[in-house]
């Protein structure tokens, strides 16, 4: 039995071919390939992983949002043509989403995975962090292309959509951290561990960062709240909460995007 409706699978198949031949996607994979390779040559597996964490947290959301927005812009007339075929909007939406997310996630995995496979991992204890990095990168690809679909449905103006994509990235990947830091400075004298945890879970990039940094035992770098995270996230519940939060972050924008796509005029 097929997991996907036949029409969705067919759309995915052809969109994959289109996206896989895109120069941008190839450049994206190459970027991670070159960066990972260079980091491995100069620092060894452990340091490379830590540096890759920062790169992943910045680049994967940015590319998901921008590539997603540009792709959907360019596919607009084609989307119209497909909607004039005997398929439902839900099938088309699922097809477009998977056809975009799978190559992005794949390019990330290939870019990071191939250099590691070539150089080898020099410390067996790093396999779990490496796997975590891979999973987090894939999850972030899913989250931010889903957000690109929400943005695509939000406005009919090309520039406004691109502006929104970049604004979302700035907020979640750059400004949010500063905001959290300001809060810590202001309310440092109070027991703010719980609100801090909530703030971390509320932003997929921060959530991903916490999950990754805990893998490297670097929570000390995050100040004294790091201890609270250590306590919270290293237990079974914490991991479950983090995984569930990332899952919600993937599914919620997707549902939002699907709803908007269903109601929208083309």
């Amino acid at each position: 039995m097929n997991v996907l409706p036949a029409a969705t699978a067919k759309i995915v198949k052809y969109e994959l071919r289109d996206v896989m031949r895109s120069r941008w996607l190839i450049a994206y994979a190459l970027f991670f390939g070159v960066a990972t390779d260079a980091l491995l040559r100069f620092g060894g597996s452990g340091k490379a992983l830590v540096s890759l964490t920062s790169v992943t947290l910045f680049i994967v959301p940015l590319v998901g949002l921008v590539f997603g927005t540009v792709y959907l812009d360019n596919a607009r007339e084609f989307t119209e043509l497909l909607l004039a075929q005997p398929i439902t909007r839900r099938q088309l939406f699922s097809g477009l989403y998977l056809g975009l997310t799978l190559p992005l996630a794949g390019a990330f995995l290939a870019g990071v995975g191939i250099p590691f496979a070539l150089h080898g991992v020099d410390d067996p204890s790093l396999y779990v962090p490496l796997l975590t990095l891979a999973l987090v990168g894939v999850a972030l690809s899913f989250v931010f292309t889903a957000l690109a679909f929400v943005i695509a449905a939000w406005s009919d103006d090309r520039l406004r959509r691109m502006g929104a994509a970049i604004a979302v990235w700035l907020v979640v990947a750059v400004l949010y951290d500063g905001l959290v830091l300001v809060l810590v400075m202001l309310f440092g004298d109070y027991p703010i561990e719980r609100p801090m945890l909530a703030l971390m879970v509320a932003n997929p990039v921060d959530l991903a960062r916490v999950v990754l940094l805990l893998q490297f035992d670097m929570s000390a770098l995050m100040g004294y709240t790091g201890a609270a995270f250590q306590q919270f996230f290293s237990g079974g519940t914490g991991t479950a909460v983090a995984a569930a939060a990332l899952a919600i972050w993937t599914v919620a924008p997707l549902m939002l995007g699907m709803r908007a796509f269903g109601k929208r005029d083309f």
Partner: protein, 242 residues
């Protein structure tokens, strides 16, 4: 073939369709004309289910279009602008449509009509990336896609806008041949002499309502004008005066 009752649509403050009623007859070429921004494309897109109306209903073959998507298996649509995924070839696009409309459906697989590929001499271009094709060639591909499944109903939105005179002639012959074969065609265009050549019926839209709907001959008789362009201008002048 198509029944439309009380169709209304607004985009923000702009009322594009205001309680539009329309009947499109089977086996004829119906031209939709009217000034820019009068709702022609919105009307067409509502029939296709691309635009969701605020009020009213559209019935294609007696089935409300808001209910399902299967009715679109009988429609061929040629949009105004043809843009396809840049990195696919024309052949891949056609294969994709065949995949989507061919198997697994309730209806038997339709007979493929690839006549336009030959008459447009498109075969040599089908292997190329769509992104590398000229605008006119993409428009030809767009036309091929609309006619490919020998649909009962063809909806063509300004189809000849990007075509050269030769291709345009080929295309017009195709339209008339399809009509003679019993197909229903809806056509929007700004080229009145072209419509005069092709259309059996005319629907004149102004400000989101139907101001005239009937045969071309009847319109000519009623307005006592020499050609379709002048007859439409006459209707416009009347509407402005009223």
């Amino acid at each position: 073939m198509i029944e439309i009752h009380g169709l209304a649509k607004r985009y923000g403050a702009q009322e594009v369709l205001r309680g539009l009623d329309l009947h499109v007859a089977r086996g004829r070429v119906t031209a939709i004309v009217g000034p820019n921004g009068t709702g022609k494309t919105t009307l067409i897109k509502t029939i296709l289910g691309l635009v969701r109306p605020d009020a009213g209903e559209v019935l294609v073959n007696g089935v409300a279009v808001s209910d399902d998507c299967a009715y679109r298996a009988r429609i061929g649509y040629m949009p105004q602008i043809a843009r396809f995924p840049q990195n696919l070839s024309g052949a891949e696009l056609l294969a994709m449509l065949r995949d989507l409309r061919g198997g697994g459906g309730v209806a038997p697989a339709p007979v493929l009509d690839e006549e336009l590929i030959a008459s447009f001499q498109l075969a040599g271009h089908l292997g190329k990336r769509v992104g590398a094709l000229s605008g006119g060639t993409r428009q030809k591909l767009n036309a091929v896609m609309a006619f490919l499944f020998s649909p009962e109903l063809l909806i063509l939105d300004e189809p000849t806008a990007g075509l050269d005179p030769v291709a345009s002639g080929v295309f017009k012959d195709k339209i008339l041949a399809e009509r003679d074969g019993g197909k229903t065609l809806i056509l929007s265009s700004h080229f009145m002499n072209e419509l005069e050549e092709l259309a059996d019926d005319v629907v004149f839209l102004l400000d989101g309502t139907v101001r005239y709907s009937g045969t071309v001959d009847e319109l000519m008789r009623r307005t006592r004008q020499a050609n379709l362009g002048r007859a439409i201008s006459h209707l416009m002048a009347q509407a402005v005066a009223a």
